[in-house]
């Protein structure tokens, strides 16, 4: 599967798209990257005169790459070709170890714990470009086939 196909299936757009590129993906894992543009709106308020990427945004970035992109890959690799899918986040437990400043690039890697009954649960790590661990945790989502409009 073309990595660009995965990106094209993502339901997000700027300013809430937190995936630039998929570096590798297979049945069990995925690696992707994202660079936080200094122009992102939340830096104006988080924090006053001291821009730091909010933890919830780091979690979102980990979920988009680690669960949603991997989920799209698995869903389309298991005979659901061409059908649009939706993903809802169902749980996350994340610890944050290092701040991410405007302009920084992060690399997210995710290992599938299981994909059963349309639930995808993953162990996800985010690192900076110097291989320091930024945050890590366990994130899960449910995949749904998009219903035809009534």
């Amino acid at each position: 599967m073309d990595n660009n196909f995965i990106l094209s299936q993502l339901p997000y757009s700027s300013p809430f798209l937190f995936v630039d590129k998929i570096l590798e993906v297979n049945e069990n894992s995925i690696v992707g990257e994202f660079t936080f543009s200094p122009d992102l709106d939340f830096y104006k308020g988080h924090f006053k005169n001291n821009p730091v990427t909010p933890g919830v945004i780091l979690t979102e970035c980990m979920a988009q790459i680690g669960v949603v992109c991997l989920g799209i890959y698995l869903f389309n690799n298991n005979g659901n070709n061409g059908e649009k899918q939706k993903v809802s986040l169902t749980s996350s437990e994340v610890e944050y170890l290092k701040p991410v400043y405007p302009g920084e690039k992060v690399i997210v890697s995710s290992e599938k714990q299981y994909f059963r009954f349309n639930k995808l649960k993953c162990r996800v790590k985010m690192k900076d470009t110097e291989d320091n661990l930024v945050c890590q945790g366990v994130i899960a989502g449910m995949m749904f086939q998009e219903e035809a409009k009534k």
């Binding site: 169902t90 749980s91 299981y114 059963r116 009954f117 349309n118 639930k119 899960a140 449910m142």
Partner: protein, 83 residues
């Protein structure tokens, strides 16, 4: 394995996922996972995976879809244990 034992083990498995604790006081075959215990669909997947581990069985998609109550789960477990 007796029906009673299956239900006792099942009760222990679902406990961490239950949102409506009152539902546990009256845990019987008609107890409905979604309505009586308010276990959401994402957590119901974890219940099923724990059931697989506990009873050393494999539950397929069709069985999962029919697993709405404690009684449904008990019947599926019995059937898988017998096969």
């Amino acid at each position: 394995m007796s029906e009673k034992e299956i239900i006792t083990r099942l009760k222990k498995i679902v406990e961490p996922y239950v949102q409506r604790i009152e539902g546990m006081a009256n845990f019987h075959e008609e107890t409905d996972f979604l309505n009586d215990l308010q276990i959401n669909s994402a957590n119901l997947v974890d219940v099923v995976l724990d059931v697989e581990d506990e009873f050393d069985i494999e539950i397929d998609n069709d069985s999962m879809e029919g697993m709405l109550t404690v009684g449904d789960a008990k019947s599926i477990i019995q059937k898988k244990l017998a096969s």
